[in-house]
């Protein structure tokens, strides 16, 4: 019995890379539970798109957000109650189109959140338009003659924005992806997992990815190395590409305060307001 599944009907296309992401995340949750992080502490969110449907399929609490905003949503959750682990499933259109500002700033401030990018190089749910990560020349209904824009490199961009955990996974390498997800959630700070996700309906990249992926045998030692791995074109290296320990945002903001569990009593609050008023 799959106690991490809901009754929602799965409507992804047969063969979609999202199945692997769903499966991997369930495994990751089970491992996290074994390691002491109960599922009731793991909050999820998602954007709108095929990727977002994972929200309905996972029996985990959270907030199904809007296009491009799940990374803001979970930052709000984390700031409100830092005891929670927060994870957003994002689409490439979602995170690097509509939501790119939130991505960059979450990284920059080292918000203690995890972003799992369902990177299929296409707006799946809106029938196949090009996205910020689509290759130049990509044909979709808004670019019938081929996209005329350069793609963004999500890994390099997140590194430039000072992300403290950057990784790439591939659902075909399921256990490897599971391991990345576990480490990403455990990382105290901004963790970004770019998942190469084939979209069988609009951008079927299985063949290309199968030929190009290569599991890294170590976590690169330096930011420099991370950047060059992120920018490789000949191969698509998989694994943790960069990892750094740094004070997460909420700790820098209020130390070990917790707005929800350590809330000041009403009496104390009123006393202080009175004091402020009589100053």
């Amino acid at each position: 019995m799959d106690d991490l599944a809901t009754y929602a009907e799965n409507t992804w296309c047969l063969g979609c890379g999202n199945f692997g992401i769903l499966g991997a995340f369930k495994k990751a949750v089970r491992i996290l539970e074994e390691k002491g992080t109960g599922r009731e502490k793991i909050m999820i969110s998602a954007g709108i798109g095929c990727h977002g449907k994972i929200f309905d399929y996972l029996k985990l609490s959270g907030l199904y957000s809007i296009h491009g905003r799940s990374m803001a949503t979970i930052q709000g959750m984390k700031i409100a109650n830092p005891d929670l682990k927060v994870v957003a499933f994002a689409g490439d259109g979602d995170a690097f189109g509509e939501g790119i500002a939130h991505m960059i700033f979450a990284a920059k401030r080292n918000a203690d959140i995890t972003i799992i990018l369902h990177d299929n190089g296409v707006y799946g749910l809106t029938t196949g338009q090009f996205t910020p990560t689509s290759e130049k020349g990509f044909k979709g209904p808004s670019t019938p003659k081929g996209s005329i824009e350069e793609p963004l490199n999500p890994l390099a961009l997140m590194l430039e924005a000072k992300a403290t955990f950057v990784a790439r996974g591939y659902p075909v390498k399921l256990d490897h992806l599971v391991d990345i997800m576990v480490q990403a959630v455990e990382h105290q700070g901004f963790s970004f997992v770019d998942v190469l996700q084939p979209c069988v309906s609009f951008n079927n990249t299985y063949k290309r990815y199968n030929a190009l992926v290569e599991i890294l045998d170590h976590v690169p030692d330096s930011y420099q190395e991370a950047i060059s791995i992120a920018k490789r074109q000949d191969k698509l290296p998989l694994g943790i590409i960069y990892k750094e320990e740094k004070l997460p945002y909420h700790k820098a903001l209020y130390g070990d305060w917790n707005p929800v569990t350590k809330r000041m009593s009403k009496e104390e609050r009123i006393k202080r307001i009175e004091a402020l008023l009589s100053r």
Binding site: T6, Y7, A8, G38, E40, K41, M43, S45, I48, K53, F55, D56, K59, L60, S61, G62, L63, Y64, S65, I66, R69, A72, T73, I74, Q75, G76, M77, K78, I79, A80, N81, D83, L84, A101, H102, I104, F105, L253, Y254, W257, P259, V260, R263, M264, K266, E268, R269, I270, R272, I273, E274, L276, L277, S278, R279
Partner: protein, 551 residues
């Protein structure tokens, strides 16, 4: 104008301590137990230009500044020229002899004296304060203490300069306006401070905002007092982040509030609708300025009423309220926090620059607020969107063994996405039922302020209420002032009483949005609509004449 009111204006370049001088003078009057209304008129710039601060004071309640002053201090020629038209009949102009030269009024070498100290430009404000002290016959000791507490940097030089100016002014016009002491010393707050404190008193946990005049000072105030109040203040990358973070925080159980002005609030509308859909309790602050678009950032208007009433796509309940005084700003903010949590829907506190930034003496009893009461889950299987009679479902916060799903898509009771027609209809009804629930609840609350009981009915709202009340006071006009505190749902049940009256509407809008709202929702056909839309609040004397004209 009854002489019970004394008004002081200080003008000058931005960045030279003009606004500070206004607020210190306000403090001086307040320390005499008097009441004060202090309005700053400043431009969208950091240094230079022309600024002025008006402080009106009385022994009784005073709810507006007056544009005609009994004492003007003009540190430069521009101030002199502009404000000589603002002198009351008995008014005295004190000007800076060094910049204005020979002119009508009392010349004082403010600059020459200031140059005896470092950074002379920054001292002129102190000179203005000293002038007021001399003119109202404050003793030097009081002035010394005031300077000490209000100008903590470079105290000695400031005191020396103040004493010099006092000694120059006193022989000429000292004690010219002997102001009596009032009943008690009151705190002075701006509308934004009242709102920040009211939110805190109502249980606020987190405030999110991106700076935008005239809302920024709430962010600044809460950031400065975060530890003290146990409130977290966050300034994210943009307004869209603000709103979505706030909703995430509400999900996790934190009482949150966001604030902006028109342009920034416009950017929040997609997430405002999200709050409606996920049923997030969320309090928003909208501080208006003249629009559309960038408009006139540092001035005032009530042109965002319809915008506030109709935000967000789709249909859901929302609550919009606008306070009519600083005290009300305080209590209402706490009350609104309670309401949005009680009904799990977004709400807006609507105000404008005039209320947000004016400084007023207040009587506030912080104990008279309560913390939000929310329907909470009491056990058994949890359904986030349990279909209840009033549309409000119990809340439960993480971490919990129960599944808590908030969903921006249409959803079933569990919060799982649905496209099923009957479920869609059921949830639309659930959310729409909350409108009735809110209205029913408000029926038993105080939703309309009524001042006076005879004479023509004047309908107004928000900061303009303060102007109207002062206008009536200053010209002793008898009228009934009716101010709906809630604008959505509009308390039609209360306002209908005035349908047959001869009604005058007063508002800071060119289109007359408030008048239209009353006509459309209540059927009130006003005899006259008094409008102003030049970015400035009403002056009570001018408003009184306009009211007299139409009654």
């Amino acid at each position: 104008m009854k002489e019970e009111v004394f008004t002081f204006i200080v003008g000058g370049k931005a960045g030279e301590g003009v606004r500070k001088a206004g607020s210190v003078t306000a403090r001086l009057f307040a320390s005499m137990g008097r009441q004060v209304f202090n309005m700053d008129d400043y431009g969208s710039l950091i240094k230079g230009g022309h600024n002025f601060s008006v402080v009106s004071t009385a022994k009784r309640k005073i709810t507006s500044h007056y544009i005609n002053a009994d004492l003007v201090v003009a540190p430069d020629k521009r101030s002199y020229d502009i404000h000589k038209g603002h002198l009351s009949e008995r008014g005295i102009m004190v000007y800076n002899y060094d910049t204005v030269g020979e002119a009508e009024g009392v010349g004082v070498p403010l600059t020459t004296e200031a140059k005896k100290y470092p950074k002379p430009d920054l001292r002129i404000g102190v000179g203005a304060v000293a002038t007021v002290a001399a003119v109202i016959g404050s003793d030097k000791e009081a002035l010394r203490n005031l300077i000490k507490s209000e100008y903590p940097r470079d105290i000695e030089n400031n005191i020396a300069y103040a004493m010099t100016i006092y000694d120059i002014v006193y022989p000429k016009i000292g004690n010219k306006f002997q102001l009596q002491r009032g009943d008690k010393e009151r705190p002075i707050v701006t509308g934004n401070e009242a709102i920040a404190l009211g939110a805190a008193a109502g249980g606020l946990d987190i405030y999110y905002a991106y700076p935008m005049t005239p809302s920024s000072s709430i962010l600044h105030y809460l950031a400065a007092h975060d530890k003290e109040l146990g409130v977290t203040a966050v300034h994210p990358e943009n307004e869209i982040a603000v709103m979505n973070m706030a909703i995430g925080s509400a999900f996790a159980g934190a009482k949150t509030m966001v604030g902006s002005s028109g342009g920034g609030f416009a950017l929040m509308q997609e997430a405002f609708s999200l709050a409606g859909m996920v049923e997030a309790p969320l309090l928003c602050y909208l501080g208006s300025r003249p629009g559309p678009s960038t408009g006139v950032p540092t001035h005032t208007a009530q042109g965002d009423l319809n915008f506030a009433l109709h935000q967000g796509h789709g249909e859901f309940a929302r609550i919009v309220a606008s306070p009519g005084s600083m005290e009300e700003a305080f209590y209402l903010t706490a009350e609104m926090l309670d309401l949005v949590w009680r009904f799990q829907t977004p709400g807006i506190i609507l105000t404008d620059k005039h209320m947000a930034e004016s400084r007023v003496t207040v009587d506030i009893d912080a104990k008279k607020t309560r913390w939000p009461e929310t329907a909470t889950h009491s056990g058994g299987e949890y359904k986030r969107y349990l279909d209840t009679e009033n549309g409000v479902s119990p809340l439960l916060f993480p971490p919990s063994k129960e599944l808590i799903k908030w969903d921006s898509y249409e959803h079933d009771e569990m919060g799982v996405t649905t496209e099923d027609p009957s479920m869609i209809a059921k949830m639309q009804e659930k959310r729409n039922r909350k409108k009735k629930a809110v209205a029913d609840y408000l029926t038993n609350m105080h939703t309309v302020n009524v001042y006076g009981n005879t004479g023509p009915v004047i309908l107004t709202y928000g900061s303009t209420t303060m102007s109207v009340l002062e206008a009536l006071r200053c010209r002793e006009i008898e009228a009934m002032v009716v101010q709906p505190v809630y604008l959505e749902p509009l308390p039609v049940w209360e306002l209908e009483k005035y349908k047959e009256n001869s009604v005058i509407v007063v508002e800071l809008s060119c289109a007359g949005q408030f008048a239209s709202l009353l006509a459309e929702k209540v059927g009130i056909q006003p005899k006259a609509v008094i409008k102003k839309y030049d970015g400035r609040p009403f002056d009570p004397v001018e408003l009184a004449s306009r009211i007299k004209e139409v009654v």
